[in-house]
């Protein structure tokens, strides 16, 4: 195995003290920006770009890569503990993670998230090392019709999240779609819903929407109830982050399923890790229903944390592969790293592995080392993080509010973003008040523009011929899977109703 030899050589470079130091700095920094709402690994890399100018490229990239992975480790922490995910990639983890925290299993949820992120990252990185040329092929198999099918598939697959109340779910979807529609429309150049203000031409950043809706909305929500619920909120900070064998066997398949979703998504440009994390969450929810697991959606199920978290980090692994071997940035952080490569006068692509082997292999080796570092940093610290919940609520949530505003202002130093943040925060508060689910807003804001743009691109290329949407084997199989899934869920729904009706009938007759 040629790759193995090169990788071992890479390890010898990655394990030098200087590179280990960069790795450690990156891991800590990445975890930190991941935890803080609004700040993300993309921004950390962007801010560090000029600083690393005089650094040797290997050290710089090792640091960037570990920031990227670190961000994905850290983002779930604040989501689990405070219901305010540090980044959009942790939204899916937050649903079950925060429920577990409320149930007194905060450390456990954090531990599961760390192990999930580790597993997903490890498997993805291994695949990249040995199969990156094939992974890259995946990107070239996908045209706009395939992307559209994928977006439609994702919509259907995660409709489970929306299902509790159809009307409320649809309201939330509509809010998300309209937020996403603001700005210049790519395919036609027309400005939509900008109120004539040039500041809106670039649309509303998904970071502003996430932080406003989830972080600031939660702060307002907690603030509005602080004297009503008082200290009765029963979040306990105790508990071990390590999984028992039984928990591990429950979570392990979810780790693998999540990784399975994450892997292909890293190699194709569909907006980073949000889609696969939602898909993983939807799958776990369906499986829990089938198992009759009542923890899911109430006390919080370990699988609901394990799946999405593994999916998120698996995309980061294959995104590195797509970046190195194809020069294709599939996430915001990867785009920053692409800029960094250009700064050093290198162009990621098919020739990078030959031309800059002395950089690529140490970088890949450092991904493995970085994941181990991150697991070591995050697992024992889960219990420490969980102690954060001991901080009195008014301090804690004031801190969240401050960091949200900082994070959003740091994106573009724009006052408009802050007003938007406040507006969306109030919206999030109102939505919580009326029990309108928040997830569909974010799902719509992420998937909506994707579906729209790709559909229009596909039809532009085919000159309006709808056949393009179903003509390739990939689209055909995606739509067939989707059709089968819809039929099955419809049948289950009908059966469920009948079963319910049958169950209620004897009660009502006995009552008579």
């Amino acid at each position: 195995m040629d790759q193995l030899g090169l990788l071992l050589e890479g390890f010898s470079v990655a394990l030098t003290p200087m590179n280990l130091l960069w790795l450690l700095i990156g891991a800590i920094l990445g975890t930190a920006v991941g935890v803080l709402p609004g700040l993300g690994s993309a921004m950390a890399v962007a801010l560090l770009l000029p600083v690393t100018f005089s650094l040797d490229p290997t050290g710089a990239f090792i640091m960037f890569a570990s920031i990227y992975f670190g961000g994905l480790f850290g983002d779930s922490t604040s989501g689990i503990l405070l219901n305010t995910p540090g980044n959009s990639s942790a939204i899916a983890t937050t649903f079950e993670g925060h429920r577990m925290a409320k149930d007194g299993r905060a450390s456990k949820a954090l531990g599961t998230a760390a192990i999930g992120a580790f597993t997903g990252g490890m498997i993805a990185t291994t695949l990249v090392v040995f199969f990156s040329p094939y992974l890259v092929k995946l990107a070239t198999l996908f045209g706009p019709a395939e992307y559209f099918a994928l977006a439609a598939f994702a919509f259907v697959a995660i409709s489970a999240v929306v299902a509790e109340s159809v009307v409320r779910g649809l309201i939330a979807l509509a809010i998300g779609l309209s937020l996403a529609m603001v700005g210049i429309d790519g395919p036609s150049g027309a400005a939509r819903f900008t109120l004539g203000m040039p500041e809106f031409l670039d649309g509303i950043s998904i970071i502003v929407v996430t932080v406003g809706l989830l972080a600031l909305g939660e702060v307002l929500h907690v603030a509005s109830r602080i004297h009503r619920e008082g200290p009765a909120m029963s979040i306990q900070a105790s508990g071990s982050p390590y999984l028992s064998w039984r928990e591990f066997t429950a979570a392990f398949p979810a780790f693998l399923r999540g990784t399975g979703y994450g892997l292909p998504f890293g190699a194709i440009p569909v907006g980073g890790s949000e889609v696969p994390t939602f898909l993983a969450y939807g799958t776990e929810k369906r499986l829990a229903k089938r198992r009759g697991d009542t923890d899911f959606g109430s006390r919080g199920a370990i699988q609901g944390v394990a799946g999405p978290e593994a999916a998120g980090n698996a995309t980061a692994g294959t995104a590195m592969g797509a970046l190195l071997a194809l020069g294709l940035p599939t996430s915001a952080t990867a785009a920053m790293m692409l800029a960094a490569f250009q700064q050093y006068g290198m162009q990621p692509g098919p020739l990078l592995f030959e031309r800059s082997a002395d950089l690529v292999w140490p970088l890949l080796a450092s991904l493995f080392v970085g994941l181990v570092f991150l697991l070591i940093i995050n697992l024992p610290f889960a219990a420490v993080w969980a102690k954060l919940l001991l901080v009195p609520k008014h301090y804690l949530y004031a801190g969240v509010a401050v960091f949200s505003v900082f994070g959003v202002y740091a994106i573009a130093s724009s006052m408009k973003d802050l007003w938007l943040l406040l507006g969306i925060g109030v919206l999030g508060f109102v939505m919580r008040r009326f029990a309108i689910p928040l997830a569909p807003v974010l799902i719509a804001a992420i998937l909506g523009p994707l579906a729209e743009t790709e559909l229009r691109r596909a039809l532009a290329v085919s000159e309006g011929d709808l056949a393009i949407l179903v003509s390739s084997p990939i689209t055909a199989s995606l739509y067939s899977v989707m059709a089968v899934a819809i039929v099955i869920s419809a049948v289950q729904h009908v059966r469920h109703r009948r079963a319910n009706a049958a169950a209620q009938a004897p009660i009502s007759s006995s009552a008579l």
Binding site: I184, P187, G189, L328, A339, Y344, G345, L351, V461
Partner: protein
């Protein structure tokens, strides 16, 4: 005890913010001269082309002592026109330079902004790079002549992938169509958000051809996964082994130029000073190194030459945008 710790922590955090705030206040207040403290506005997000250009400039100026301190401020949005609007409100500020370039001309025309390059002071054009038209390796088209013939016969069936609408890739597709002899409005242009996506669009045979900066495709061209048919350079460029459109008989040239502008309402002396700063920066070894690394070509010009160039380009861009029906 616990209370004491909290108080100390609170005091520490407050102190940090206080220091940061004073530092910020001192940097935003007062009048600095360009030589002592220069602000470079990159009207793009960190990591983009203009941002890279700004940071390379910053580095070359600072290391060689052209200015004492230089900082880069990112004002992203709408093809740079958000930044341009802000610069338009800085009349008389003597310590600010903003990056500008070909992309901004299209964006100004497209967004119909209040501020145009007429409302600011042109300082210099510094570096260019060129666009290239590529087809997939398995495409039937071997030369630009083949492609032109096929494209003209069926413009709708030949989707062209490129960057955002009104950007330089789009304008180039329109100019080519015009030169080949069909209505630019018939160009089936599919806009993507960056060179990477244009590349996958070409590799997946979604688009018949793609247009992007030469640097973004150069490795793929060398590796043989895509074939370059022509570049938009006016003259053959060293190190680019692809015929220019002009060499192939299509009279089309367009460069992705980058340069600096300053606010309006500055004195002639200040303008001279800013031109001198840029000229000195341009002469440094660090800048030369930056040009090699980024594969930019030198196009340094200032003064009347620059004014004429921008005036001509503005008219040309406006005309082609109209032709494209935007």
């Amino acid at each position: 005890m616990k209370k004491a710790i909290l108080t100390v922590a609170f005091a520490a955090v407050t102190a940090v913010f206080f220091v940061a705030a004073t530092a910020n206040a001192s940097s935003s207040g007062g009048t600095a001269t360009a030589r002592s403290k220069l602000t470079l506005i990159a009207p793009a997000a960190p990591g983009g082309g203009w941002d890279g250009f700004a940071r390379e400039s910053q580095q070359a100026m600072r290391v060689n002592g052209v200015v004492n301190t230089a900082r880069v401020v990112n004002v992203p949005g709408a093809g740079g026109t958000i930044g341009l609007n802000q610069l338009g409100q800085m009349d008389g500020r003597e310590d600010v330079l903003m990056i500008t370039g070909a992309v901004m001309l299209g964006a100004i025309e497209l967004a119909d902004t209040q501020t145009t390059l007429d409302d600011v002071t042109l300082i210099a054009r510094v570096a260019d790079d060129y666009n290239v038209l590529v087809v997939p390796a398995d495409s039937p088209y071997e030369t630009i002549e083949d492609f032109a013939a096929g494209w003209a016969a069926d413009p709708g069936g030949h989707a062209i992938a490129g960057g955002s609408l009104g950007g330089i890739d789009h304008l180039l597709s329109g100019l080519l169509a015009q030169e080949i002899g069909f209505d630019p409005q018939q160009v089936n242009y599919v806009a993507y958000s960056g060179g990477g996506e244009v590349l996958t669009s070409v590799l997946s045979n979604t688009a018949a051809a793609g247009i992007s900066g030469y640097n973004e495709f150069s490795d793929q061209i060398e590796a043989g996964t895509i074939r370059a048919l022509g570049t938009s350079a006016a003259e053959p460029v060293d190190g680019i082994d692809v015929p220019t459109f002009i060499e192939s008989g299509l009279d089309v040239e367009m460069s992705n130029w980058r340069g600096y502008v300053a606010p309006a309402g500055i004195s002639d002396d200040t303008r001279e000073e800013l031109v001198a700063i840029v000229t000195e920066m341009h002469a440094t070894a660090d800048w030369e190194d930056a040009m090699t690394r980024n594969r930019w070509s030198d196009s340094f010009s200032t003064g009347a030459e620059l004014d004429d160039f921008v005036a001509e380009e503005t008219v040309r861009v406006a005309a082609i945008i109209k032709e494209l029906g935007l």
